[in-house]
Assembly symmetry: C2
Homo-oligomer: 286 residues x 2
């Protein structure tokens, strides 16, 4: 373990989606609870990698979000989930897509960090999860809300050693073809983390995000402008393919940034020496 | 159909891999045959999209290459294939991963261009293929050569209308876990095409390519330098994660470029008003 070098920071999101008045409280509470878990880890000297995994696990376990327990069903009536995790120290990636019957896809993705393969899909991903001892729980397949919108959960963190990490997870898009994968497990589209460049997670219209490589474009913009400016500017790339998205990031110096062109984008933010804050859209913090 | 605006150009590769003396002839002949198919299409005013699909189909149908008919088997003893195609006019993408029992994964990827989903994996991808009438052929599952190395086939083209397209296909990596996906179906990692920026296909160590987003990085480098310089420079990013790769590209003006840090990288090249050329490594053309 490295020595303590800096202060930690943390941001998580619960999806770029419409949040009805009825759903505001559950979205706020879920993010607050998840961020508190990350705060406990980071404030005790835990790694960014562990923090992002545990924050995303908390969101996966919460039915308010379309990931893990709260995942929507595809056209064939069953749940397929995608998740990813990336270590900004090493550029190690673990990602799964269309995995079934596990509680926490993000933890399966983390288990892949130690393997030769970085991305497993379909039955192969589920088989790997069972081999690694992830228990099949009957909790999955409970949510049948229609038209939930395109949402994903994600978290980026910087720990006291100055290391960055990102994790994302989604239950996909209600009613799509079986086997559909969006941006969540795609490096440079839905996520990326590099200690030298920053850690980023996006959410929204997965197909549109992938077609413009939203995260790779953000990282390039951020070379020549602030991450706030880059976040706002990169969302304009979606005009070419149409689509909504939200983006969260932490730069190598620990600066948090977020933006969205969706009606809502629920985020929770915590930093060393400040309290946890939760917002349901940009502007709420003013 | 647009009016004729410019001259066409075409480059295809058969993988960044070691080519033994015994395999030189089959690799040369296969690329020559595939490029001739693309040449016939482009010289008659066919689109770049059709050219890249048909060139890749020809390579998939040739057992000399690890894609389609020549695919290697995974740890569980069966063939899972990945392919992608992208239309540089619209940024439309079609991609499949871990598809089974179809002759031409690239054509399934092309069929996805018309759908809401851009990326289907596993059983869902195979199911989509059957629904779209792609016939299950007993040809697949014939190749059992060990240690074939990490290879992929790919093609980029610019048609007489000035439009760009890319297609890639692979049988994956011998002996990996079922469900393993490399860079081939990942936008910004294994492929990308944008009329405004260029069309690119890479091949090599898929995990390493994905971890550094090789194609997205190439497109950014190419903003500020020639595509020859960008090709050479982008391969150096692999030093950080270790790995071999080859890259082919056509820029918006039709200029072809290619580079590799593997021992061999078989490419076939054709341009309007010049003959088809095939090389097994950089330097052979001098």
């Amino acid at each position: 373990m490295s020595d303590i070098k800096t202060s930690w920071s943390l941001i998580a999101h619960g999806g770029a989606k419409d949040i009805s008045t009825a759903d505001e409280q559950s979205n706020r509470e879920g993010l607050f609870e998840a961020i508190e878990i990350g705060t406990r880890i980071l404030s005790k000297g835990g790694t960014a990698l562990t923090a992002v995994e545990e924050v995303v696990k908390s969101l996966e376990n919460n039915p308010a979000y379309n990931a893990g327990y709260g995942s929507v069903r595809n056209r064939d009536g069953y749940v397929e989930m995608d998740a990813s995790i990336m270590d900004g120290r090493t550029l190690d990636i673990g990602a799964v897509a269309c995995i079934k019957e596990v509680d926490n896809p993000v933890s399966v993705a983390r288990a892949l960090l130690k393997e030769r393969e970085i991305f497993l899909v379909g039955d192969g991903a589920t088989k790997f999860a069972f081999e690694m001892g992830f228990i099949n729980s009957p909790k999955i397949k409970v949510k049948t809300i229609k038209n939930i919108g395109c949402d994903t959960v994600g978290c980026v963190a910087r720990d006291v050693y100055g290391d960055l990490a990102v994790a994302t997870s989604t239950g996909g898009l209600e009613g799509t073809r079986a086997g559909r994968v969006g941006d969540v497990p795609l490096p440079g589209c839905g996520f990326y983390a590099d200690n030298k460049r920053g850690a980023v997670s996006v959410s929204g219209d997965g197909e549109s995000i992938a077609r413009v490589m939203l995260v790779a474009e953000f990282l390039h913009l951020a070379k020549n402008m602030s991450s706030d400016e880059a976040s706002a500017k990169v969302l304009k790339l979606l005009d070419r393919v149409k689509g909504e998205a939200g983006i969260i990031s932490i730069d190598p110096k620990g600066k948090i940034s977020w933006a969205h062109n969706s009606s809502h984008f629920a985020v929770g933010i915590a930093k060393q020496d400040s309290n946890t804050l939760v917002f349901l859209k940009k502007g709420d913090e003013k």
